[in-house]
Symmetry: C2
Subunit: 350 residues, 2 copies
Amino acid sequence: MLETVWLDDRLVRLVDQTLLPHEVRVVSCATPDEVAGAIRGLRVRGAPAIGVAAAYGIALAAACASALPGAERAHTVEAAGAVLTAARPTAVNLRWAVERMLTKAREARQEEDAAFAALLRREADAIAEEDRAANRLIGRWGEALIRPGERILTYCHTGGLATAGYGTAFGILRAAHEANKGIHVLACETRPVLQGARLTAWELLQHGIPATLITDNAAGALMARGAVDRVIVGADRIAANGDVANKIGTYTLAVLARAHALPFIVAAPISTVDLACPDGAAIPIEERAASEVTHVGGCRIAPEGITVHNPAFDVTPHDLVTAIVTEGGVAAPPFDRSLAALAGAAAGSG
Amino acid sequence: MLETVWLDDRLVRLVDQTLLPHEVRVVSCATPDEVAGAIRGLRVRGAPAIGVAAAYGIALAAACASALPGAERAHTVEAAGAVLTAARPTAVNLRWAVERMLTKAREARQEEDAAFAALLRREADAIAEEDRAANRLIGRWGEALIRPGERILTYCHTGGLATAGYGTAFGILRAAHEANKGIHVLACETRPVLQGARLTAWELLQHGIPATLITDNAAGALMARGAVDRVIVGADRIAANGDVANKIGTYTLAVLARAHALPFIVAAPISTVDLACPDGAAIPIEERAASEVTHVGGCRIAPEGITVHNPAFDVTPHDLVTAIVTEGGVAAPPFDRSLAALAGAAAGSG
C-alpha cells in the first residue's frame, strides 16, 4: 500500500490527494512552509494525516536547522510549528501533533545536531506508527458492531490516505470486509471537494469492497426506502461533550440517521478528542475558497459574480451520535464521561 | 426576458439549459423525436417547461403532418405524443400537456390541414400562456407568506427557464424581491446536475436578488445556526395525498426543515398535481446515467469501475410539507382535501 506521508532525507514526501483518482503522484516539500502549503491546498488531508504531515514538517525543520546554534535551532523549530498549526484551524490532530513534536524538541534541546534531528524524526515516525496501530484497533472495535450484510453509508474520505494508513471510519469498513461480513458500502461523493467520489471510491475499488457511489443528496431517499443500516463517519475534532466537527454535510447525515432510527457512528483516534474544547460551539470552522464551489476540475460551474459561502466543516451535536469508536474502545453516551475515561487511559499508557 | 421554448414555423426552439450559465444558445428541434431528445438530455428541464416543450412538440407534429390524410395525420400526432410522454417519467406535467394536446387533436380531427395545425399551435401557446399566468399567481400567493428580511433556502432551479416564464418557487422569490421584502436567497447547488449553481444562481444575478450559493451539504449547518427562515422548493409531481416528488435531495431538506421547525413550502402549478396518483409510492422515480455523478463538465471525478446509483428525484411525504402554493391559492394540510378542492376549482374554471 501507499504511504500517505514520509520523510525522505530532507524532503517531506506525500501522495498528492488533489490529483487522485486520475494520477498517483508523490510531491516533495523542502520546507515546513511547503508542508503547510500542501496541507492548506488539500494535497494532504484527513485529520490524522495532516497531523502526521505536520509532525514530519517539524522533523524536517529539525533536520535543516540541526547545525544551528541552540537558540536559533529552537526558534526555527518553534516557528515551523506555528506555521504548520496555522495551516488549517478545525482538525485538532494538527495542533496535537505539532505540540507533541515541540515538546520533544524542547526536551531534546541539549542534544547534538544529528541526535536532535534523529530524535525528532523518530517522534514523527512514532506518531505515524501509533496512528496506523490506532486505526487497526478502531477497525477491530468498530467491526464488532457490524452485523452481517449491513449496508453502511459513509462520508468524505477516512481511508489509508486520510491517516497514516488503514483508515478510521474506512478502517471499520475494511475490517468488516476482511471479516467476510458481506457489507455493502454507500459512499457519498462529498461536495464540494468530492473526497468520497475521488478518494473513498478509489480505495473501495482497491480493496474490492462492494460499494455504490451516490450523491450526498441521495442519502435521505435511500434511508427512507430502508436501504441503509448504519452511518459511519470520521471526525476532525471531538469536543469534551462528544460534539463532533467533521466534513460539511455530516450534520445533515446525523439528522437523517436520527429521523430513520439508524445508528450514527463516529470513528477517530483519541488524538482527535479535544478535552480542552467543552463543546462544538468552541470549535473553529474553516471557511474555504469560493472556487471549491464554483469550479470542478478547473471547469467553472457557477456564474461569475455569485456570492458563495463555503464552510468546510459542521458540528454534529453529541445527542445525534450513537457511539464514538477509538483505539481505546467504543465510547457510548454520556460522552463527557466516556471520552474523558478513554483519553485518561490513553494518556496513562502513552 | 428569454422565452424558454417556442414554435418557430416548423422548428421548436429552446434555450439549451445544459450550456448555461456559460452560453445562452437557442437550439432547434425539427421533429418530435428531437424535442423528446432535448427533454431527455435536459436541454429543456423543469416540470412545467418540459410540459410546454412537449406541447410544442405535438404542435410541430401537427404542422408537419397537417396535409396527410386524416387517419395518418391522427396517427402521426398520437405517435408524437407517445414519444414525448416517454421522454421522462417523473414530472406529470409532461403527460398532462401531451394528453391535453392529444385531446385537442382528437376534437379537431375533422379540420382542414391549416386549421388543424393552427388549432394545435394555439393550444400549445395557451398551455405556455396559462403556465406564465399561473406562475405570476403562485408568486403573488407565495409572496404573501414571506415576512420582511427572510433568508429563504431554495433548491434546484424553478425559475423562468424551468417554466414558460417567471418561475414557481423562484417566482415567489421574485415576487418577494419585487415587493421589496428585503429577502436573501440561499441557493443550493443541487448535485448532480447543478441546476442551482448553474441556473438559479444565474437567474438570481439577472434579477438582482441578494443571494448566496452553497453546497447542498451546507444547508443543515446553516439551519442549525439559525441562518435560514424558510425553505421553498418546486415539484415534479404531487400525489393526491400531498406527497411531493421533486429533485433528489428535496426530502433531505424537508427532514432538516422539520428538525429545525422551519416552514417547508412547495410551489407548483395545479398541472403538477396528479390526483390519479394516491401517494408518493405510486410516483415513478427516474434513474439517470452514472455519468451525471462521475463527470462534471466533461471532467471525470470518480474512478473508472465504481458502481453508481443516481435517482433523479425523491419523494417528500406530505407530513413534512407546510403548504403547497398553486395558482389557485395555498393548499394547507390535510392536502388530500385541499388539493382536490383546488384541482376541482381549476377544472371548473378551465
